[in-house]
């Protein structure tokens, strides 16, 4: 249990059943008046921002968050299923919650899943993933149009810009932080 005195940037609390991250905090107290604790919080599930002002004496539940390594099994409709390889426990995450992470996720790959109680609320990907190019236009040798990149689709269905020399079937490295092409893996 936290009190208002524990409030600071970075604190994670539970509010109306959802986990929130405190992103801004200020203590204000007009002369002879009551102290106010102004916070801005981000809902860790849907990302919405919330402004809340608290007073002395108010308390908060800690957000019980846990990160566990799990294997991505499959997608069904809008749901992604992950499994803890130690306990074989399975969790399901909605596509909306996955955000951009779905662009880089292949079946059977291992990721860190953030759990809020029983609920999966996000995944932490490695900074770089290797994905195979499934479709891209042929590079016409001698093309002098000046284009230094072209679109390519990778095995997850994600489309990104790659250098002209990348061919179908090649394995490329993608930076998951910005979704951009990093290098290719020859072999």
């Amino acid at each position: 249990m936290y009190t208002v005195a524990d409030l600071k940037k970075g604190l994670k609390i539970t509010l109306d059943g959802d986990p929130y991250l405190v992103v801004a905090f200020d203590f204000v107290k007009p002369g002879k008046g009551q102290a106010l604790y102004r916070t801005k919080m981000r809902n860790m599930i849907n990302g919405t921002l919330l402004d809340r002002t608290y007073r002395s004496g108010e308390t908060f539940e800690q957000a019980s968050l846990e990160e566990r390594q799990m294997e991505y099994l499959y997608k069904e409709g809008n749901h992604y299923t992950f499994m803890d390889q130690q306990t074989f426990e399975q969790v399901v995450m909605e596509e909306e919650t996955m955000g951009d992470a779905k662009n880089f996720l292949l079946e059977n790959c291992k990721v860190d899943v953030m759990l809020f109680g029983e609920k999966a609320i996000g995944i932490a990907l490695p900074n770089f993933v290797n994905l195979r190019v499934t479709a891209t236009e042929q590079w016409a040798k001698g093309d002098t149009s000046g284009n230094d990149s072209k679109p390519a689709t990778v095995e997850t269905g994600y489309v990104l810009r790659v250098p002209p020399f990348i061919e179908e079937g090649e394995l490329i490295v993608i930076d998951t932080r910005n979704g951009e092409y990093s290098t290719r893996i020859k072999g």
Partner: protein
């Protein structure tokens, strides 16, 4: 740089001393560790069992007025439990001064004199204050606004209504203080509802208003002054009311400063004011946070 801020801070404190010495004020040091502060609904003393650290030197300063000293000042540390933010430290530096045979109007003139003097001496190249990218010129004519007028004009609300609904602090800090940042001269909010002035006397002929004012520069609250109440029965009643409200809010009631109450009847008509020295240094340096103007924050200890 922090070392520049500390040099300026030292210069400001020396300049404040000179300002009051030159006007014949007696500089005093009263005990920091005391058996009882003036109980206030929203101020929690730091306990140093079985006593407390002072939340303000006011109790002892007023007892000195009672002993016949006419003009007094003190620069001392004060402690208020659990107050920490960009403008608050649990341990901070306060300047207080008191004048016998005067009311709060004289203190307002003192504030003008002091802030102009500090700017002229310590900020001689550019004698203005800064807060949140605003410039505040202490040599411009100061603005005086009644609290009720500020609530009506900037908060679109009646101050007594806000007090009753528990919205006073939110309207003041959320709607009024942001408006005060727009003035390029110092602003005095004056004539507070009597329930917000536990140690002040009421305005003659007006039971709902007290002779209390607050000084703001760039929306930053710098000083709080008032004409002092010297009726011991009324003072005891207000202390007991503060303790009743504390109990209601779940705070512990505080001991009453009995020797102060005993001597209050003999205190002359007087006025006293507290000014946050750290905040004055913030205004002189343009610092956004109080952390930038002290040698150490509690987190660094």
């Amino acid at each position: 740089m922090k070392s520049d801020a500390l040099w300026l801070r030292a210069h400001i404190i020396k300049t404040i001393r000179n300002f009051f010495w030159d006007q014949g004020f007696l500089e005093v040091e009263t005990p920091l560790l005391i058996p009882a502060n003036a109980p206030e609904e929203h101020i929690n003393p730091v306990t140093a069992l079985p006593w407390q650290l002072q939340t303000s030197p006011e109790i002892c300063m007023k007892r000195l007025l009672r002993r016949g000293h006419q003009r007094l000042f003190q620069i001392s540390h004060c402690w208020r439990a659990d107050e920490r933010g960009s403008r608050h430290l649990q341990e901070f530096t306060m300047l207080e001064w008191y004048r016998a045979e005067c009311d709060y109007q004289t203190l307002m003139s003192d504030c003008e004199g002091l802030l102009q003097h500090v700017a002229a001496v310590c900020l001689s190249n550019n004698p203005v204050y800064h807060h949140k990218s605003r410039i505040i010129d202490p040599f411009r004519s100061w603005r005086h606004i009644a609290v009720q007028e500020a609530f009506l004009q900037f908060g679109h609300a009646d101050v007594w209504d806000c007090l009753q609904k528990g919205q006073y602090e939110e309207v003041l800090t959320g709607l009024i203080e942001p408006k005060l940042t727009e003035f390029s001269e110092p602003v005095i909010l004056m004539d507070y509802p009597s329930e917000l002035a536990a140690l002040a006397c009421l305005k003659p002929g007006q039971v709902k208003l007290a002779e209390r004012f607050e000084l703001y520069l760039g929306g930053l609250e710098l000083a709080n002054g008032f004409s002092e109440l010297n009726d011991p029965d009324e003072q005891r009643r207000r202390f007991e009311e503060a303790n009743r409200l504390r109990l209601k809010n779940g705070s512990t009631p505080l001991p009453l400063p009995e020797p102060f109450l005993r001597e209050l009847a003999g205190m002359p008509a007087s006025a006293g004011i507290a000014l946050g020295v750290d905040r004055l240094v913030m205004l002189a340096t343009g610092a956004d946070s109080i952390d930038e103007v002290v040698a150490f924050t509690p987190e660094e200890l």
